[in-house]
């Protein structure tokens, strides 16, 4: 029996191949992220230099952070970090983080929140550029910019809507279930049972987020692929594309998640920044970090290319986009 369409692994690998063939896409994303990070880090870096450069503590902290120093800085300079650490750890807690914590953000936390808004806008631009450039056989950075600007209004709407849905899922599924189950979880007989309940809540959240993401990515992909259709049809075709190929899309997303997690695992095990200068000098460390970021972005572009492949490569008579590039090679005849 011959497979009629690309399966998840094939789509993902083909997407990775496309990503590697257009490295400027990853470079563009890398520059965007670096720019955003720099805006956030500049005040932190200056503060660190002001506190450490002439301090005898500095020499002790090249390799490892000093707990007492860190806590003292948090206390003495509350305007720098605000409640950002509490918010970050609250996100990882079984209870989640209530919205009432957000107004307490100062300094880095508030800047991060503002930059997150900017990041969403840039993300919409970058996704338009990426998906547009991926569809053209001979594209360039110019294509990326042009397509990004061209798709931006619609992609902004999709991205904000997806973010809104993701926040709602977090609030209603994770935080809401945590509040509703709090006393029941305490009544459980063992801590392991309580952890299992948290695991189920997380699983439900992850599933909801994955569905939101795949729907959004499907709509974006079809939006780029079917410019011939009116907007409402494009949107509905995008939804239909995700509904029609759930396993394949979940498969690609799963491979993307596993590959990225594997990459992080390798990073955490090797931990190039540990040990201070004893392991890596500053220059090689920065290069290693940025290479890691770049590889991760290549995989990310690969994911979007894979999704694009899955939704548009195998034509479906009803709605799928027929690839404009060279026709697919003929299937070998079955004998």
């Amino acid at each position: 029996m011959v497979s009629r369409g690309p399966r998840a692994l094939r789509c993902f690998l083909r997407g990775l191949g496309l990503s590697l063939s257009k490295p400027y896409l990853a470079i563009a994303l890398w520059l965007i992220q670096l720019m955003l990070a720099a805006a956030l880090i500049l005040p932190i870096g200056n503060q660190l230099h002001a506190l450490l450069d002439r301090s005898p503590s500095g020499a002790k902290m090249v390799a490892v952070p000093d707990y007492s120093w860190w806590e003292t800085v948090r206390r003495v300079h509350p305007d720098v970090l605000g409640n950002f650490p509490e918010i970050a750890t609250g996100l990882l807690s079984p209870e989640g983080i209530p919205w009432s914590k957000l107004p307490g953000m100062l300094g880095v936390g508030a800047t991060a929140f503002s930059l997150a808004i900017l990041a969403i806008v840039l993300h919409a631009f970058a996704l338009g550029g990426t998906l547009g450039a991926l569809r053209e056989p001979s594209s360039s950075l110019v294509t990326f910019g042009r397509e990004g600007m061209r798709r931006m209004p619609a992609f902004l709407v999709f991205t904000f809507a997806a973010w809104g849905a993701a926040f709602a899922a977090y609030q209603w599924i994770y935080v809401g279930s945590g509040v509703a189950l709090r006393s029941r979880v305490r009544d459980l007989h063992t801590e392991q049972a309580a952890l299992a309940v948290t695991g189920l809540r997380l699983l439900a959240l992850a599933l909801a987020l994955a569905v939101i993401k795949l729907l959004a990515d499907s709509v974006r992909t079809v939006w780029v692929a079917r410019p011939d259709l009116p907007p409402v049809s494009r949107f509905l075709f995008g939804i239909g594309g995700a509904v029609a190929r759930p396993l394949r899309l979940f498969g690609i997303l799963g491979m993307y998640a596993v590959t990225t997690l594997g990459l992080y695992l390798i990073w955490l095990v090797l931990d190039p920044s540990a040990g201070g200068e004893a392991r890596l000098a500053l220059g090689p460390l920065i290069i290693t970090q940025q290479v890691f970021v770049f590889v991760r972005l290549l995989i990310k572009i690969g994911y979007y290319a894979g999704i694009s492949e899955a939704l548009t490569r195998a034509p479906s008579p009803e709605y799928s986009y027929v690839a404009a590039e060279t026709p697919a090679p003929a299937e070998p005849s079955a004998t």
Binding site: G45, L52, P56, G58, P65, A194
Partner: protein
Amino acid sequence: MSAAKVRVLALALCAGAAAAGLLAQGFPPPIASYQITCRLDAEKKALEANEVLTWKNTTARPAATLRFHLYLNAFQNTLSTFWRESGGDHRDGALPESWGSVEVTRMTGPDGADLLPALRFIAPDDGNPNDRTVAEVILPRPVQPGETISVALDFAAKLPRVSVRTGYKDDFFMVAQWFPKIGVLEEGGWNCHQFHAQSEFFSDFGNYDVSIDVPARYKGRVGATGERVEERETSAGRVLYRFRQAAVHDFAWTADPSYLVLEDTFREAGLGDVRLHLYLQPEHADQAQRYFGAAKAALSGYGRILGAYPYPTLSIVDPPWGAHGAGGMEYPTLITGGTAWSDPRSVLRPEGVTVHEAGHQFFYGLLASNEFEEAWLDEGFNTYMCDRVLKAVYGANHVDLDVFGLHFPLGIDIHYPLDANLRYFDVADWDVLASDSWKFRNRRSYGGQVYSKTALTLATLERLLGTPMMDKALRLYADRWRFRHPKTRDFIACVNDATGADWTWFFDRTFFSSGIVDYAMAQADSVPAKAPLGLFEKDGKLSPEPPAALARARGYDSVVTVIRRGDVAMPVDVLLRFEGDRVYRSHWDGEARWKRFRVTSGPRLIEAVVDPDEKILLDADETNNGSQPEPDLRAATRWTTRAVFWVQNMIDFMTVAW
């Protein structure tokens, strides 16, 4: 001789023999002794009990009344002083709406007089008419100085869902502060405070003989203060346990059919043998040795400095999931621990709690200070000693990250004692440490002051005195006040006696002050020396030419200014390190607001540090204690690089997705 006289004589002989036996063990004569028989209704979470209190008036004044603590009534309703002060929130989060109470149903005094009609509730601390945690009874005739009386009571107790030390969770019971308990009569009157949200307890030493009747499913899984002297089946489906302990001032017990009951023995030359009983939750079975190891570390570490633990047993209770409010608590010869299923070995959670609570056997158990009025004498002193033991046995603790309930070590050291007590600095000037427990601004201030400020104060004192002298003072305090009720002034007297100097100033500036200590390096400059300019005497005349010896500039001119930013002065050292490993060290009494050091035409200054040996652990901002003229960019650059990297990843995570 009549039969009655023979019985009285026999009882007197027995009592005399028992007293002689106790004294031989170094135990004091009892003041408040209890004989209690109780029956647990595990389904109704209730106790029916009778109690015989034998109490001696050790003051020089007659006692016309008796005062009793009825602690369980703190959980009776939301009008109690405890509920009002806690705001419905305590050690295990929001307090459950599960009510507890204790009701005295019979009280007879000496000569069989019915005292119940004369029983009334009082609120000596806040006048709250709805608080039922202290009761006073007027006696038909006063108890004379030196006289001993017996009072018999029947009482019924209802246990709350455990949230603050005592109560139940499913089949688990931690039964503490459960019986009517007499206050402490002092020369100035009764010391019998209400149950507060921020305080613990205070009572006299005595002998306890307690029988506990539980359903048969608890067989072998009942632990309590003291030694178990009896186990027998009573009526159908029930088991009775009897525990006895002399020379203690409270009694608590626990029962849980799920317990794994394990035993071990602490044995060290000069400190005697102690049987350790561990009542462990099955899901923590792999942490048994962590509990035992920590208990042994405490008995050894405290015992070597303060003298041997005098009782034959120590029981450790591991509360189940959902009953953390029962954890981290001390009772005579019984403590409750606390751990999590996924606690990494490098994170000393069960060890820290166990050493701390076992340490309370000394600071609380033996040195029975008033926890209502001078909580630092037990919690703070114990935190100080606990930090010493943990540091000596385990080294540093480590920061862990709680990820959805699972704990992961982060590889960041928490050093004892400073890092472990940083919470003091958040509340440094909120309260004077020497305050009644319930009068602190809030629980955060209570914790930061009572536990952490005291620990840092004593650790600072240790660094100023030297460890051997500090140990000498502690031992003197322990020997002088064992089985008694010491006060802060008694400890200060011990320090003064041990050192032969008056250290009252130190305690005035720490225990009795809310002032902050903060020394800072305001200036540390080192610039190439310049040739002198101006007019100089030469051959009796003024000339623009400097003398040959001064004409050429040599070395560096260095200026260092140390300032006292805090209100509280402490003696500090100042260290100046110059090129060529030349070091200048000066001692400053720290009283003035600033002190300047100048070195002209010397070697280049590399570093200037105030308190270089980190003796003054109360210094609120250690980050400003030193300065070096030449900046070293490495640490900041490296951490900035790390921050950029992880923010890039965070941005990617945020945009990966939606």
